[in-house]
């Protein structure tokens, strides 16, 4: 008796499109105006997780294009400066893509240091752009209020790298 063997194909839909849609949905959900005991929901920049994980999973033409779209969505949805988040997200993508050979197969701690460095660099870039554009520097304390929740989402990036790295037989 011949048994049929199923081959699971991990394409861009699985590692690019679905995570992007989840990030958009989570951003929408976290924008709900909730205030409990004077505390509000955090507002992390969730696509930064994807900007770090995608170039480590594999180089792709789709990923930066989707990242650009996600950045424009953030600018539009949050009512910020148009082009700000695409620039920052693609800056992370470019840095990680350039250092891909260095980061491949590294320990989680090393990846976190890189993630934190890239995230802080992207926020610094956003800080400079907004300062120049608005003619006024934003508060550093307010900046920390967005940097820290974004850093806390590193486990998702780490999970994605381990889940999808070499998931496609074409890249083995």
């Amino acid at each position: 008796m011949r048994r049929s063997m199923q081959v699971r194909v991990v394409g861009p839909l699985q590692w690019v499109i679905y995570p992007a849609l989840i990030a958009m949905a989570a951003t929408l959900l976290l924008a709900t105006p909730v205030e409990l005991f004077g505390l509000k929901l955090p507002e992390p920049v969730l696509p930064m997780v994807l900007a770090f994980a995608w170039p480590l999973i594999r180089p792709s033409m789709t990923a930066p294009a989707v990242l650009f779209g996600l950045g424009v969505f953030l600018d539009m949805f949050w009512g910020g400066t148009l082009g700000l988040w695409p620039l920052c997200l693609l800056a992370i993508y470019a840095v990680v893509l350039g250092s891909r050979n260095l980061l491949a197969g590294q320990e989680t701690q090393v990846l976190f240091v890189w993630y934190a460095t890239c995230t802080l660099g992207a926020f610094l870039l956003a800080y400079l752009v907004v300062s120049l554009h608005a003619g006024h520097a934003p508060s550093l304390l307010a900046l920390l209020g967005q940097v820290i929740p974004t850093l806390l989402f590193f486990p998702i990036a780490d999970w994605m790298v381990r889940r999808f790295d070499d998931g496609d037989v074409l890249f083995r």
Binding site: A31, W78, T81
Partner: protein
């Protein structure tokens, strides 16, 4: 010859290169977007159709997410009110006793104020109508602080309208679609609001920086601000009505003057949009810019006869003895309507009639 049999049959572009090309193109597009962004423009054109479309889609969607939160809050208030009714009643009675003398004073002052306005013939601001809306979405990051409200142009809301809660001013409208509008908070890094200090009437500019307490900048005068001073809108520039409460002044950690916002006393849930129009739009600017102001720059050049008369008068004035002191009576020429008068040195530049210096006329009454 087929392509695969040619010299490119083994040619493969590495994926990293193709990805890098897309990254570079997207980076250039991002920079261009930043350069052409017109978010801070006060006109409706600055709020593009894409932004309006995303707001129109996100507003109802976030309204669904916000509904359970609102129901939970209402249920919590209901049970809290039930269990704490006695203490609440005592507190309200005490507050009522304190407020009754204030009410009497307010009625008396309103009456006196109306009398003064009538006697002085002051042109007071028209009554501002209000539209109520609900906050459905919030962005609270350091680079953008705004709310989406579930009311738009269908309720008469326009860009620039101030938004208040029961506590005081919270922001202004920066984008409007049919049923959704975007409110920029006072704390946004792009927010600038002209304010006054209630105690000293000093003017300042309330500047948001993404933190909870916006800065007071360009404070005029020494000792104009003290901790605890009430800060109100000044109405300068016509964007806001005068006297809307904002908060109290306080020293920040960095030593700068900041404002503790009244709107922080409660959650921003239901808001009221003041359908206030910039009063500078209410006057007819065309009428203001018409003659005689417009005529100042287009006064005709003097005719030959007028030029001769001007030259003659100027020559006579030059010959007038300087002994005529400031106390001496000097005959003044009546301003002529026949044409402009210019000094003798001014040759070809025509001056406006009202701006011309008076030309002395000798007793003989020299005529041109």
């Amino acid at each position: 010859m087929a392509f695969r049999d040619g010299p490119f049959d083994q040619f493969k572009v590495p994926l990293v290169w193709t990805a890098a090309v897309v990254v570079v193109v997207a980076l250039i597009a991002s920079v261009l977007l930043i350069l052409v962004d017109r978010r801070h423009d006060a006109d409706a054109d600055g709020y593009g159709p894409v932004r309006a479309g995303i707001d129109a889609g996100a507003g109802p969607l976030n309204g669904i997410f916000a509904a359970p939160v609102r129901w939970a809050g209402a249920a919590s208030d209901y049970f809290g009110g039930y269990f704490f009714a006695v203490s609440e009643n005592r507190r309200l009675k005490k507050e009522l006793e304190e407020l009754q003398p204030w009410r009497d004073q307010a009625i008396a002052l309103k009456n006196v104020n109306a009398r003064y306005e009538a006697m002085l013939g002051l042109r007071t601001e028209p009554v501002v109508t209000l539209a109520t809306a609900r906050a459905v979405s919030e962005s609270r990051g350091p680079f953008a602080k705004s709310f989406l409200l579930d009311a738009g142009s269908d309720k008469g809301i326009r860009i620039g309208n101030p938004v208040i809660t029961e506590q005081g001013l919270v922001g202004r409208i920066v984008g409007v679609t049919g049923g959704v509008s975007r409110m920029l908070l006072l704390t946004d890094v792009a927010s600038r609001t002209p304010v006054l200090i209630d105690r000293t009437d000093a003017r300042a500019l309330l500047t948001g920086d993404g933190s909870g307490n916006p800065k007071l900048e360009f404070v005029r005068g020494v000792g104009a601000v003290q901790a605890g001073d009430r800060v109100l809108t000044s109405g300068d520039g016509g964007g806001f009505p005068r006297g809307v409460p904002i908060g109290v002044a306080a020293r920040g950690i960095d030593g700068s003057w900041r404002v503790k916002l009244f709107s922080d006393r409660g959650a921003i849930d239901y808001v009221r949009i003041m359908l206030f129009q910039d009063f500078s739009q209410l006057v007819a600017t065309d009428a203001l810019n018409a003659a005689p102001l417009a005529g100042l720059a287009t006064a005709p050049a003097p005719s030959a006869t007028q030029a001769a008369a001007i030259g003659d008068a100027a020559a006579r004035r030059a010959r007038t003895p300087a002994a005529a002191g400031p106390g001496s009576a000097r005959p003044q020429a009546a301003p002529t309507r026949s044409g402009p008068t210019v000094p003798s040195t001014a040759t070809q530049v025509p001056a406006p009639p009202t701006a011309a210096p008076p030309v002395p006329v000798p007793a003989g009454g020299g005529a041109a």
